[in-house]
Amino acid sequence: MTELKPRGLPQSIDETLDLLTASNYVADRALATVLFLSLRMKRPLFLEGEAGVGKTEIAKVLAESLGRRLIRLQCYEGLDVSSAVYEWNYAAQMIEIRMEEASGAVERSAMERNVFSEKYLIRRPVLDALTGKAGAAPVFLIDELDRTDEAFEAFLLEILSDFQVTVPELGTIRAEEPPIVIITTNRTREIHDALKRRCLYHWVDYPDAARELEIVRTKVPQANSRLSAQVVSFVQRLRQIDLFKVPGVAETIDWAGALTELDKIALDPETISDTIGVLLKYQDDIARIGQGEGRRILDEVKAELAAAE
């Protein structure tokens, strides 16, 4: 692992935007603004949006460009304190007890001190995130918060307001500098208002055509420029159709990558129907676009691009 060189936080919205651009993340000004504010005000950033619009990526890019450690807490149903905050190493503790018994000197308070010492504490992401040094606070990504349950959400509420955790046997552990918290959710469940209130909220939307084209050019630089323009325009039109699940940016990048791997330099109806599985993941949607509608959209795309040239 390379040594991290923590950098200072950006001092303006423009600097934030530059920071993201330098790390190949094409952001709009709204996102840069809310990110800058969250860094400046030391408030968690709450990112909501459809799957595949680059929410998690923001945290990764931020950690990388600021030279901070990225601590990721992937949420799932049933996430509890022992897998999110800390756990004791029970096997080692039991051996310690046996050793002390064998050595004969069993003094209750000393034993409790020894058994419940930092040596036997297993740190999980939340506790990890609270141990940043001043000027080098880690980026704490709480990913897909909607997957966990309300009980954990309530616990998180406490963490996010005080940035401290109490381990009964050790006492309170407080962050020297609060971590940069980024929370993402796919909205498969409504998050309680009390938690949202403590954060800065941003809805990450699908990008517009120009920005999406820029993203594709950044992420798939080897793709033919005509192909990328067609891909982006096609996806943009797909998003206007009433599909069950419209493709996200991640799908656009995948599709551009897939078509490049197939050595395509332009879209044609056969290629679309062969590779549509990269874009659409529901059979109803695929059937609909495969039958005729895909061809119609492609014609529109071609006409539009021809007019633009």
Partner: protein, 435 residues
């Protein structure tokens, strides 16, 4: 001076300099020996009957508060009592109505106002019943209205039962208010409700002496308490919770006679369980989850009545389900939700579309329970095309024998009344009608 005379009439005596007529005072100190205390006690008793939590301690506080604050006017008196007797926001409506009725019926505050106000109090007839009015007046005048005919329960503007209309008719609706007995009954019924497949095992644990998993954390803690001499085994087992419940209720013309029961049911359910999402549909889909969170049932129903624009209109089940699938299913059907679909299945529009949407709904939830009030008739046959389209895609097809009371609705959903809910027994007759 007039005012003081009135107050003395009210409370039997007045302390203060005002009696000498020297300085006009604005606040009179009522005598606790008089009728004031009795009146407040009766008033508090009425509030309790209307469902508010008013204990003897708060009655005592109320009397003390009135003594401390004195009476500056109807508003002051109102807010003095309010500050002591109302401790939950949702009780405000009940208190407000009780105050209005009680102090009017006793002609106390009204008289007081009339005596020192040149303008007669505003006593216009109100058109709409206020929230909680029914309950409060029942609590106040209990025993005096035996001869009164029961009020007509919900107002139905057009009786369009057994007809399916695709046209959109927007109507407002007023619901008869809940009586205290109804609310108590609803709470009891809901607390006894055991839905089928109603518990899911989570990955969280609870201490359980009969559990099968060892709980090392508890073991170490208890061992360290005893100085580590004994490490006794502790056990835990997986915790079980209710999955989210999503209710989709049809409020179109053919179902309109049941809508009050549905809403009442939804409200009681929302109060009882944590994750309940309520939707109603006629020609459009309305999410009522927020409105239902109002603790007072009358206020919740009044909010619902305002939020829904298509009461007793036509039916577009397919479209409503399509909208649900597209906009809401991913947001509310996570974590293994059970869906209750309450509709008669009388769809006129696009039956093929309906089948597809029900199929999608079925695939995105843990269990789809269809409750059909038409099934209660002995001669029910899956003749309607909408019913035939939906039948293959539901897990349970349940009947409601009598939808006039909430208890019946609850009983029909209970897992203990599980015979004959398999939709497959209707598939064969349905196929016959299709042929």
């Amino acid at each position: 001076m007039r005012r003081l005379r009135f107050l003395s009439l009210l409370w039997g005596g007045v302390r203060g300099r005002g009696m000498t007529g020297a300085a006009p005072i604005t606040v009179a100190r009522p005598d606790p020996e008089g009728r004031m205390a009795d009146n407040i006690v009766y008033f508090a008793r009425a509030l309790r009957k209307a469902g508010m939590r008013v204990g003897p301690a708060s009655v005592k506080d109320a009397i003390e508060a009135v003594l401390a604050a004195g009476i500056g006017g109807r508003d002051d008196f109102y807010w003095t009592l309010h500050s002591v007797l109302v401790s939950r926001h949702e009780d405000h409506a009940v208190f407000d109505e009780a105050f209005r009725l009680y102090w009017k019926s006793r002609e106390l505050v009204e008289k007081m106002l009339a005596m020192f106000s040149p303008v007669a109090p505003d006593r216009r007839e109100r058109v709409k019943p206020r929230a909680a009015e029914n309950r409060v007046s029942q609590a106040l005048f209990e025993g005096q209205q035996k001869n009164r005919l029961p009020r007509e329960v919900p107002e139905i503007e057009v009786d369009a039962r057994f007809t399916a209309a695709g046209d959109e008719v927007l109507r407002g609706k007023d619901f008869a208010q809940m009586s205290a007995a109804e609310i108590a009954q609803a709470k009891k019924a809901i607390s006894e409700l055991r839905l089928p497949f109603d518990l899911v095992t989570t990955r969280r644990f609870k201490p359980d002496p009969h559990g099968r998993r060892v709980d090392p954390r508890a073991m170490m803690r208890s061992a360290s308490r005893m100085g580590g001499e004994l490490i006794l085994p502790k056990f835990r087992s997986a915790r079980q919770v209710h999955p989210p419940l999503v209710v989709l209720a049809d409020i179109s013309g053919s179902m309109s006679q049941y809508s009050r029961i549905f809403l009442h049911f939804l409200h009681a359910l929302t109060e009882k369980r944590r994750r309940v999402h309520a939707f109603v549909f006629g020609t459009r889909l309305t999410n009522l989850s927020r409105q239902m969170r109002h603790r007072d049932p009358d206020e919740a129903l009044a909010d619902c009545a305002l939020a829904v624009k298509d009461w007793s209109g036509g039916t577009r089940i397919g479209e409503a389900l399509a909208e649900f699938n597209r906009l809401w299913s991913r947001r509310v059907l996570g974590q293994g939700a059970i869906v209750l679909l309450i509709t008669d299945g009388l769809e006129r529009d696009d039956v093929e579309g309906l089948a597809g949407e029900v199929e999608r709904l079925h695939k995105s939830c843990r269990r789809l329970i269809w409750l059909n009030p038409l099934l209660r008739f002995d001669g029910f046959e899956p003749r309607a095309r909408g019913v035939r389209a939906m039948l293959p895609h539901v897990d349970e097809f349940r009947a409601v024998h009598n939808l006039d009371a909430l208890a019946d609705l609850v009983a029909s959903l209970d897992k203990r009344s599980a015979q004959g809910v398999d939709p497959r027994r209707w598939l064969e007759p349905a196929a016959r009608f299709a042929a």
